[in-house]
């Protein structure tokens, strides 16, 4: 039974990732007061989550290829290749976060919503950079465990990073919004 086998193999992982997304969604569900107080905040949420997912899954799959090419493994993890990847991730996150903040502000103005640009861009930048640091560390831990056990990183990093990424990014947005709202 070909169809049965396919359902059996992919259904559990997809449901598991969905449960992870419920955790991310619940974080959004308790942010109602912040969403009300900070116009424009809801606009940046899909973009930050997409940026994080995009950057970290690409990172994971590059590390997977590096493993298959033999330039990185559990005993030789912290090398120049990995450092270049980490710097690249952080710089990308920094610039893309600024672009997200500016775009969200500009498009809101066109639609006659008037966010505070300093607040909005600070929230995106903080959330973008903090989630980048946390997810980079998590990726390195996952990849180390995968290497140690001899699994193929290509099968594991994608779904694992997508699920952790959504939750951590949502919590970072929540935290940054509270912090910025308290300081500014």
């Amino acid at each position: 039974m070909y169809a049965k086998e396919m359902v059996k193999q992919s259904l559990p992982l997809i449901v598991f990732c969905g449960l992870g997304a419920i955790v991310a969604g619940s974080t959004l569900g308790v942010m109602t007061d912040l969403l009300r107080e900070i116009p424009g905040l809801i606009v940046v949420i899909p973009a930050i989550i997409a940026m994080r997912g995009n950057i970290s899954t690409a990172f994971g799959s590059r590390l997977g290829s590096a493993y298959h090419l033999g330039i990185i493994d559990a005993d030789n993890l912290w090398n120049e290749e990995l450092k270049q990847n980490i710097i690249g991730n952080l710089i990308l996150s920094f610039f893309v976060a600024i672009i997200i903040g500016v775009l969200a502000y500009a498009t809101s103005l066109l639609l006659h919503v008037y966010p505070n640009p300093i607040k909005l861009i600070s929230i995106v930048l903080l959330a973008g950079v903090i989630s980048a640091v946390i997810l980079t560390l998590i990726t390195i831990v996952i990849i180390y465990l995968v290497f140690k056990r001899g699994y193929d990183p290509d099968n594991i990093t994608g779904p694992a990073l997508a699920t952790f990424g959504d939750i951590i990014t949502m919590i970072c947005i929540f935290g940054s919004a509270i912090l910025v709202e308290a300081i500014l």
């Binding site: 070909y2 169809a3 396919m6 359902v7 259904l11 992982l13 997809i14 449901v15 990732c17 969905g18 449960l19 992870g20 997304a21 419920i22 969604g25 619940s26 959004l28 569900g29 308790v30 942010m31 109602t32 969403l35 009300r36 116009p39 809801i42 606009v43 940046v44 949420i45 899909p46 973009a47 997409a50 940026m51 997912g53 995009n54 950057i55 590059r62 590096a66 090419l69 120049e80 290749e81 270049q84 990847n85 710097i87 690249g88 991730n89 710089i91 990308l92 610039f95 893309v96 672009i99 997200i100 775009l103 969200a104 498009t107 809101s108 639609l111 919503v113 994608g158 997508a162 949502m170």
Partner: protein, 187 residues
């Protein structure tokens, strides 16, 4: 050394910029309907879930099609039986997943006092219908992206996941509000 941070930034930027433009569009739809979302926070919980499941199913389908095209057991034809089977199974997995998750979300929301006055049956109907519409769309986009990129000599493995997740994020939000409109919730 094969990686340099400059190359990672340079090659990452174009795709990310396009993705972000589309996601900001999705975000503006959310902002436009923010009042009904704040009235029914249970639907705030559903947004990441709808998008995650749609994106995952589309990406898995795309990866399977890519392998089939590379190895040769799937042909570049819209009549291909193997492709039809994969498409059908994706829809089936989508239906089952959305059904299971709708019940979990409803009880999470009930526990957090976020359900207001929406009945379980109505919530399941809205969530599952949104999901089925989204998975159908995402599956078609996945097949088209895989086939078109393969035809042009590009690797479908690189193309399908970003295209499918971005299209899925926007369409998931559009379909959710469509269903909320049809069911008359939050207007």
């Amino acid at each position: 050394m094969i990686y340099s941070w400059k190359k990672i930034v340079k090659y990452g930027m174009p795709l990310l910029t396009v993705t972000i433009l589309i996601e900001i569009f999705a975000g503006q739809i959310l902002q436009g309907r923010q009042n009904s979302l704040l009235l029914f926070p249970v639907f705030l919980i559903t947004i990441p879930v709808i998008n995650s499941v749609g994106g995952n199913i589309g990406s898995v389908l795309g990866a399977r099609l890519a392998s089939g095209l590379h190895v040769g057991y799937i042909s570049l034809s819209l009549e291909d039986k193997e492709m039809h089977d994969n498409l059908f199974i994706s829809l089936l997995i989508g239906f089952i997943t959305y059904f299971i998750l709708s019940i979990v979300i409803y009880f999470v929301a009930l526990f957090g006092n976020l359900t207001e006055d929406i009945a379980l049956i109505e919530f399941i109907a809205i969530f599952v219908l949104t999901g089925v519409l989204l998975v159908s769309t995402v599956a078609l986009v996945s097949v088209l992206t895989a086939f078109l990129s393969f035809k042009r000599g590009l690797d479908p493995d690189d193309m399908v996941a970003p295209v499918v997740t971005t299209v899925g994020d926007v369409m998931g939000i559009v379909f959710l509000f469509l269903m909320l409109g049809i069911f008359g919730v939050g207007i």
